[in-house]
């Protein structure tokens, strides 16, 4: 019971932070989660986990979409071609100079600063999105 409650709090905390960054429209769900947490300590066990998963997915998809848009614009990818989270910059025809330009564009779009070392390790859209969320998380905490 005690451990249950503990893991429950840490879960809902995490969902709180990612939620406020990602979507304000989800705040209704957030308060619902808190009230159910107060009432029954036992049965909420699976529910917050589900919500947390759902939220982190939503945030990622949002970021990934934005990254895809920027990558498309920056590399002038043809209309027919699709850019997904798994697309590597190399496959899209980007060289190291393009990658620098993409990272700079991402910095501006998200209002963050990406360090040079980490910028050079990015090879896919997903990695870029992950790094961006990391930085945003660190900035807000």
């Amino acid at each position: 019971m005690a451990t249950n409650a503990l893991s429950g709090t840490s879960l809902s905390m995490r969902s709180l932070t990612s939620q406020t960054q990602a979507f304000t429209s989800l705040s209704g769900q957030r308060s619902g989660l808190i009230s159910s947490f107060g009432r029954k300590n036992v049965s909420f066990n699976s529910q917050p986990r589900q919500i947390r998963l759902q939220i982190s997915c939503a945030a990622k998809a949002d970021t990934v979409d934005k990254v895809c848009e920027i990558v498309k614009k920056q590399l002038a990818v043809a209309e027919g071609e699709t850019v997904t989270a798994e697309s590597t910059f190399q496959k899209l025809g980007a060289d190291s100079l393009d990658t620098v330009e993409i990272v700079m564009a991402l910095e501006e779009a998200f209002g963050i600063a990406i360090e040079e070392e980490s910028a050079q390790t990015i090879t896919t859209v997903q990695q870029a999105a992950d790094l961006i969320e990391d930085i945003i998380d660190k900035k807000s905490s």
Partner: protein, 97 residues
């Protein structure tokens, strides 16, 4: 496979990319119109040299790096608004393929 390729950049390649970033960063502080011009010029210059300069010609690349860093210093000066002087050596250099 792809990631290892990116991480295996040489010191000189890193210097070049870092210079490129520096230019793009400096361009942000200029007016919107100039910024776009600067970005176009800088991008074209780097790409042209990447294509035309032999990757083993270290002396020349070092020279280009030094020159680029000096130009970046000048561009960073708030009094500098544009980069048109850079275009001089486009016409000077003959890139016959």
């Amino acid at each position: 496979m792809g990631s290892s390729k990116v991480q295996r950049l040489s010191g000189m390649q890193k210097q070049v990319l870092s210079l490129f970033r520096g230019f793009l960063r400096a361009a942000r502080s200029k007016s919107e119109e100039e910024r776009r011009k600067i970005e176009a010029i800088v991008s074209q210059e780097f790409r042209q040299n990447a294509k035309n300069v032999d990757r083993k010609n270290f002396l020349y690349i070092e020279y280009l790096l030094r020159r680029g860093n000096k130009q970046l210093d000048q561009l960073r000066d708030p009094g500098t608004t544009g980069l048109s002087s850079l275009q001089l050596h486009f016409s000077k250099t003959d890139y016959s393929e």
